[in-house]
């Protein structure tokens, strides 16, 4: 079982090393030997990427809540959850709790906005999806290349509940985005998508554990990533089907491009299955851009760099296309295109 990390930024002994199996490819201790000093207060003046979509807001500035930290959705609502970091060499922790009442529809728009340098951010989210509720979580992460950040989300989905997630990140010095989803009661559905686009020496680790504890749950996962220069992309996806979770249908795919000689991709897609009436599959590919497609495009007069960018965009955009909310999808698409 994955040891649920209880990382405490004020206690260096809680920082996992790569000897901890779940942190094998993201050695926190290596980059963070000592507990960082606490971050000072910060002012937030910049707008968030999702402001135009309106709704309620939870805002954290260097871990401090500006207003509420908890939110309960009923009916149809939009919540913008902003984790803003503006610090130099210091650390902070933010915790939020969000729940969607039975039958509610919540659009959860999350942004991780980093300014300053070499900060350490630790964000936690607890999310409850009640029976028949639907939550769509879209996360955009942009941080300085020398920042360290760890984001943990614990999601609990009740009977017939639907949880959809799309994480889009450009990485950091060491960045971990971990989502733990539990299908708590019958007939829940989870979509746990993600995308990483990494330049320089950035690192991004998309880790997920989806546990099917009840029957007839479905899980669908599509993760795509590109690692350029000396960047390192990590995907660890685990699907657990516990005894009695019959009728589970779980699919996982991870496709990555290594766009340079020195980039690295590490992947560990796991299936742990204790029930027999299940359909589970995972696919995992690591490769390069199709040379013949590149050649074809150049032949048609498109410069090599542009051709490469177009093919990369075409490769990644599939993840964005799966976002079911149109407004959020368009914001994410623009956000990604601007960073290609």
């Amino acid at each position: 079982m994955t040891a649920v990390s209880r990382i405490d930024l004020t206690d260096a002994s809680t920082f996992p090393t790569r000897r901890v199996e779940a942190w094998k490819y993201s050695d926190l201790k290596r980059w963070l030997r000592e507990a960082p000093p606490a971050s000072p207060q910060a002012e937030v003046s910049s707008p968030g990427a999702f402001d135009a979509l309106g709704g309620e807001a939870i805002l954290f500035a260097n871990g401090r809540a500006v207003g509420v930290t908890d939110f309960i959705a009923s009916g149809e609502q939009t919540l913008r959850l902003r984790y803003v970091s503006d610090a130099v060499g210091t650390g902070h922790t933010a915790s939020a709790r969000v729940s969607a009442r039975a039958g509610a529809r919540l659009l959860l728009l999350e942004t991780h906005e980093g300014a300053g340098s070499a900060y350490v951010a630790h964000n936690r989210l607890e999310l409850d999806v009640a029976a028949g509720a639907e939550v769509t979580r879209v996360v955009l992460v942009e941080e300085p290349e020398d920042a360290i950040s760890i984001t943990e989300a614990d999601v609990r989905v009740e009977a017939g509940g639907v949880f959809r997630q799309t994480v889009v990140t450009t990485g950091a010095k060491l960045q971990r985005l971990e989502t733990r989803v539990k299908h708590f009661a019958q007939g829940a559905h989870a979509q746990v998508d993600g995308l990483y686009l990494l330049n320089g020496s950035r690192h991004a680790d998309l880790t997920s554990v989806v546990s099917h504890l009840a029957a007839d749950g479905t899980t669908s996962q599509l993760i795509k990533g590109v690692a350029r220069e000396t960047a390192r992309g990590v995907f660890q996806g685990k699907i657990v089907v516990e005894r009695g979770a019959d009728g589970t249908d779980a699919r996982m795919a991870h496709n990555a491009l290594i766009a340079s000689e020195r980039a690295e991709i590490d992947a560990k897609p796991e299936l742990i299955i204790y029930a027999d009436d299940v359909q589970c599959a995972h696919g995992n590919t690591v490769g390069t851009l199709d040379e013949s497609a590149l050649f074809y495009m150049q032949q048609r007069g498109i410069p090599a760099d542009e051709a490469r960018a177009l093919l990369t965009q075409a490769f990644l955009i599939e993840v964005i296309d799966r976002i079911d909310h149109e407004g959020a999808r368009e914001v994410a698409r623009e956000w990604l295109t601007a960073r290609l």
Binding site: E261, E264, L271, Q279, A281, N284, T285, V286, G287, T288
Partner: protein, 488 residues
């Protein structure tokens, strides 16, 4: 769901292991337990050169400092390493000159197992089968090796490793431990200290071994661990196909089997290594059975060298085994074809590692796991591409089939790519036997058991086809027997 009910009932009644007989053979033991003196005893018994004793003692020291690994997805009663015999040999005159001098009781055992020890014999049940040279290892010693002279004519060395240590010490010294170092892991260190026999194969440059070589391991004595060591060297341009089989009597106790297999393939050499592992799996309650903790590794040192592992794992109470390839040579290739079938209370944690170091090296992994009863099966594998290995290709396919509500099946592949030109593909599926297919086959007049055997054999077919013919016959029967009683 009548079929499911029947499955559960049938699993409860499971008791099938046809090689479970014991033979009363006068056996010579070393004193129980493990210490430096036992290591010395074994080395002296084998008449080994001094350097070999030192090598063993160093391994023993390393082992003492190591901890038993716990990361595998298996649970078992801890092994009491001081409550084992580390050396058990059938009493016989020093080095039997011919088959006539071998204890007839032992010959009887092999006859029962269907292993041809007389050179004129061919494998039972296979018409016109090609010749197979056999090295028969009984507990801690090799009792007979066939076709030695015929093989020697083409320069192939095939003999017990204890004999090779005396006759070709330089060759053994050069390669022993060069693929699996003494301190590689806990069980490899233990094996290095106490291994008593096993096979040694050397194929000279450019020689295609004229027949299949095979080693047949039999554990007979109780409270005994078996630690064999196999070393295969294929020199430039050589080819050999090697088969390995193993069985043990049914006993209430758990017996330890910790083997090490090392393969070295030089330029353009090819080694095909096939295993049908049928150690006693324990009874229906999970009592007894072999702990199979094995380290198998091939070093594709030469350019264009190729090693292919094929395994059919049906036996053992607990299996912990990852036949691997280190692909150092340019354009070297590694293959791993595996069928792992678990039933009753068996647990298997098996898979492979493909370490790509050489340019344009290729690997292919096809793993099929079938879990039934209360068993647990895990595929654990690694494909890693090092920064300097350009043009690497890998394809991996892992499929699992679950039969029954109480079994588990897990897939844990690791992919580590550090080179931009690598093309790696991995796919895995887990399903149960399709009701539709079962229904269809039964509608056509097959009994439910036949239908299951048909579907499972279809499921594992990709791997079956990679087995040498002699083994394929046995393996196909094994698949049916292993699953007998698992489904209605």
């Amino acid at each position: 769901m009548a079929a499911v009910k029947e499955t559960i009932d049938a699993v409860a009644a499971l008791e099938k292991y046809e090689h479970g007989f014991t033979s009363d053979i006068e056996t010579e033991y070393a004193p129980k337990g493990l210490n430096a003196d036992i290591v010395r005893f074994i080395s002296e018994k084998k008449g080994e050169p001094e350097w070999m004793l030192e090598w063993r003692l160093a391994a023993y020291e390393r082992w003492l400092a190591m901890e038993e690994p716990t990361w595998a997805a298996v649970k078992y009663e801890p092994v009491d390493y001081q409550d084992l015999f580390y050396y058990a040999a059938p009493k016989q005159k020093e080095g039997p000159k011919s088959l006539d001098e071998v204890d007839p009781e032992i010959l009887e055992v092999y006859k029962k197992l269907g292993i041809p020890l007389k050179e004129q014999e061919v494998l039972a049940g296979v018409q016109g089968a090609p010749k197979v040279a056999v090295d028969a290892v009984f507990d801690s010693v090799s009792v007979v090796t066939t076709f030695k002279e015929e093989l020697a004519k083409v320069g192939v060395i095939f003999m017990p490793i204890s004999e090779a240590l005396r006759e070709y010490p330089d060759l053994v010294r050069q390669y022993l431990g060069s693929v699996v170092p003494v301190s590689d892991n806990y069980f490899a260190a233990l094996n290095s200290a106490v291994f008593s026999d096993g096979s040694f194969v050397y194929i000279p440059p450019g020689v295609r071994c004229p027949m299949e070589l095979s080693t047949y391991f039999r554990i007979n004595a109780s409270q005994t661990g078996q630690f064999e060591r196999t070393l295969i060297i294929a020199d430039k341009g050589a080819y050999v196909s090697y088969l390995e089989g193993c069985t043990a009597p049914m006993r209430d106790e758990n017996q330890l089997h910790a083997a090490v297999v090392e393969i070295v393939a030089l330029d353009d050499a090819e080694v095909k290594y096939s295993t049908v592992q049928n150690w006693y799996p324990g009874d229906a309650e999970g009592k007894g059975g072999i702990y199979n903790f094995v380290t198998k590794r091939a070093d594709c040192r030469g350019d264009r060298s190729k090693v292919s592992w094929t395994q059919v794992e049906t036996g053992s109470a607990v299996t912990w085994k990852y036949p691997s390839c280190i692909l150092k040579g340019e354009e070297s290739s590694g293959e791993f074809y595996s069928i792992a079938i678990t039933n009753g209370h068996q647990q298997a944690d098996t898979g492979t590692k493909m370490i790509h170091l050489g340019k344009n090296s290729k690997s292919r992994i096809i793993a099929k796991a079938v879990s039934a009863g209360k068993s647990d099966s895990t595929y654990r594998g690694l494909v890693s591409v090092h920064p300097k290995a350009t043009g690497v290709r890998n394809f991996t396919q892992c499929d699992s089939l679950l039969i029954g509500k109480e079994c588990g099946s897990h897939t844990i592949p690791y992919i580590e790519a550090r080179n931009g030109s690598a093309q790696l593909e991995h796919e895995a599926t887990t399903t149960r036997l399709s009701d539709d297919q079962l229904f269809y086959a039964q509608q056509r007049g097959l009994s439910e058991e036949e239908a299951v055997a048909l579907l499972v054999n279809g499921f594992v077919r990709d791997v079956m086809q990679k087995l040498p013919m002699e083994f394929a016959v046995e393996a196909q029967k094994l698949v049916a027997i292993s699953l007998e009683g698992s489904v209605g």
